[in-house]
């Protein structure tokens, strides 16, 4: 759709510009001839509006020939041809209009000197058309950059959503198969425990799927998911896995993006405690301080273990989501000491919308 015709206010502004152009033309015609300004305006303003309406059609050529993608020869020849045809049509209309006014009313509207009028019209037409084409090209550039901006924004939102989707889809196969192995093992020795394990797994998967389309959830929900996850891993690791939650009641009510805590707790188990022969304690802390929500996950780790690149994925995901959602109002920090590993998240505190 034409960007000027499609918007009423733009069209009015556009025509106002041409009105001014007409007035200017009238002034030039009236100057140094026997015609008055008023009479010259009666002649020139309709012509200016005609040129304006005629110039609207150049939008389609502007769209068809983006300057950076069009061969220069084609660009020049097309515009030259179009310009000459438009100009000729307009000049014919202008001279015809002059004849109509002169013969029907009989008063000089455009002065008596035909040669002067023709050269004036030629000059005005060339300038008018040139400005119109340039204006349309500028409009096209604005529109393109606006669209690019919108597209960038859309792709950012899309990326964030698909990241979250993939996070949810990323039900760690290790976790799944090992948990099933624990269930199979328990059935032979402790059927009650096997049953409890099934309920825990169902609860965990249901909760993580339920985080679906939500933008933000209460920290309490995220903590509950982490607790369920750790309860399942406790069955598998036994006494090697210990846990401690230091979460203030106030913090529980604050809003967090879904699945920011869970990947960190998973890392703490799989890249921390799982590599220790005697296991260790995972500490999850959260508190509300100075208008910010501070969350930290800490775990012991094996000093001999080479830096694991696998730990990067979940963490990088959390980091990029915090960055896109909160910019410099949020942060993710990692402290990797030889025997402990801690990830701290800071978010602006806001209460969960539900």
């Amino acid at each position: 759709m034409h960007p000027i015709i499609a918007h009423r206010e733009r069209l009015l502004l556009y025509l106002a510009v041409w009105l001014a152009f007409g007035a200017l033309l009238a002034a030039v015609i009236a100057f140094g001839s026997e015609s008055t300004f008023a009479r010259a305006a009666v002649y020139a303003v309709p012509l200016a509006l005609l040129l304006g309406l005629q110039s609207l059609s150049c939008w389609y050529l502007v769209k068809a020939m983006p300057p950076e993608e069009t061969p220069i020869a084609r660009f020049v020849s097309t515009w030259l041809g179009t310009g000459i045809v438009s100009l000729a049509l307009w000049m014919a209309a202008a001279l015809g209009w002059e004849w109509v006014l002169r013969t029907s009313i009989g008063t000089a509207f455009a002065g008596q000197d035909a040669a002067r009028l023709t050269s004036l019209l030629l000059f005005a037409g060339v300038v008018g058309l040139l400005v119109a084409v340039l204006g349309h090209y500028m409009l096209a550039a604005f529109e393109r950059s606006g669209r690019a901006e919108r597209r960038a924004l859309e792709s950012l939102v899309f990326a964030r959503e698909s990241e979250l989707r993939s996070l949810r889809g990323q039900l760690d196969p290790h976790f799944l198969f090992n948990s099933l192995n624990s269930v199979a093992a328990l059935i032979g020795t402790d059927a009650q425990a096997a049953r409890r394990m099934c309920f825990l797994m169902a609860g965990f998967f249901r909760k993580s799927l339920g985080l679906g389309g939500q933008q933000s959830i209460a920290l309490a929900e995220e903590i509950s998911l982490a607790e369920t996850f750790l309860a399942i891993e406790e069955v598998r690791f036994g006494e090697r896995l210990r846990k401690r939650f230091e979460v203030t009641d106030e913090a529980l009510l604050l809003a967090v993006p879904p699945l920011v805590l869970q990947p960190l707790v998973e890392n703490a188990v799989h890249h921390g405690v799982a590599h220790l022969v005697d296991g260790g304690e995972i500490i999850v802390r959260a508190r509300h301080r100075d208008g910010r929500l501070e969350i930290a996950v800490e775990n012991p780790c094996d000093p001999d273990r080479p830096a694991s690149r696998g730990a990067g994925v979940g963490l990088a995901n959390v980091r990029s989501r915090i960055e896109t959602l909160f910019g410099n109002r949020g942060s993710v920090d990692v402290e990797a000491a030889p025997t402990t590993y801690r990830v701290s998240i800071v978010l602006p505190a806001s209460t969960a919308a539900g």
Binding site: L180, N181, A184, A185, A274, L276, V277, D304, R309
Partner: protein, 246 residues
């Protein structure tokens, strides 16, 4: 058949023990909860078969196999999910089981192991297996060295250089020399090749320890390390070094 079960999860070990009890002709002689224990028990008890979990703390299943070397019993690996390990098992025709372990599959694996024992099929090279199981783009991150029954874990970045001597290698780290039976070609292929350069037939250098290079004679140079030690550099070694550090 005498079997050793190795898994860091108590439940998983109990589950295997329970299933093995139902298979005729099988005796569970021990359980190990980590790689070090596995190496010790495998040497002390000399089992016929080891059911070996791949992911364990400290030492992986592959590293246990490597440390046992020629004394390793027949092995069936067990893993929950590891696409690269699975590929390695297929490539090297190594038997494996997936968690949750199904009784019929376990019985099948035990039976196949018994046949292999009878026909004395040699096991796979632990290092080749571990190399195939490494995700693409990943290099050896640590070297395991056994000295007088003790296992040392030497992170790759701490190695200054490796020297070939007769039929073993000498890993030098901070002036300390540790010996390991392995070939230079093997270790060269496993370590990060953007960091370790074969500067001489007998020397593999961690370029981060290189201070400067001095000409020594026609077509030979000396690499001076940051700690002052000097290593010979051959003509091909010199061009390799040039290529890497420009």
């Amino acid at each position: 058949m005498r079997i050793l079960v190795v898994d860091d999860e108590t439940l998983a070990r109990e589950f295997l023990a329970e299933q093995l009890a139902g298979i005729a002709g099988v005796e569970l002689i021990g359980q190990a909860a980590n790689g070090f224990e596995a190496v010790k028990l495998a040497e002390a008890l000399a089992p016929d078969l080891m059911l070996l979990d791949v992911q364990m703390p400290k030492l992986s299943g592959f590293e246990v196999l490597e440390l046992l070397g020629g004394r390793a019993p027949a092995v069936v690996f067990i893993t929950a999910f590891d696409e690269f390990a699975l590929r390695a098992f297929e490539v090297h025709a190594v038997d494996y089981l997936l968690k949750p372990v199904e009784p019929a599959r376990l019985a099948g694996a035990v039976e196949r192991a018994a046949e292999r024992l009878k026909s004395r099929v040699p096991g796979p090279s632990a290092q080749a297996l571990a190399a195939t199981a490494r995700p693409p783009g990943r290099t050896l991150e640590r070297v395991l060295i056994r000295e007088e029954g003790r296992v040392h874990v030497l992170p790759a970045e701490r190695i200054d250089f490796v020297e070939a001597q007769d039929d073993y290698l000498c890993f030098v780290s901070g002036g300390r020399r540790q010996r390991k039976q392995q070939t230079m070609a093997e270790i060269e292929a496993q370590l990060d090749q953007s960091r370790f350069v074969r500067i001489h037939r007998s020397f593999l250098l961690n370029v981060e320890r290189l201070a400067r290079i001095e000409p020594y004679a026609k077509d030979s140079w000396l690499a001076i390390l940051t700690d002052g030690s000097k290593l010979p550099v051959s003509r091909t070694g010199y061009s390799r070094l040039k290529e890497l550090i420009g």
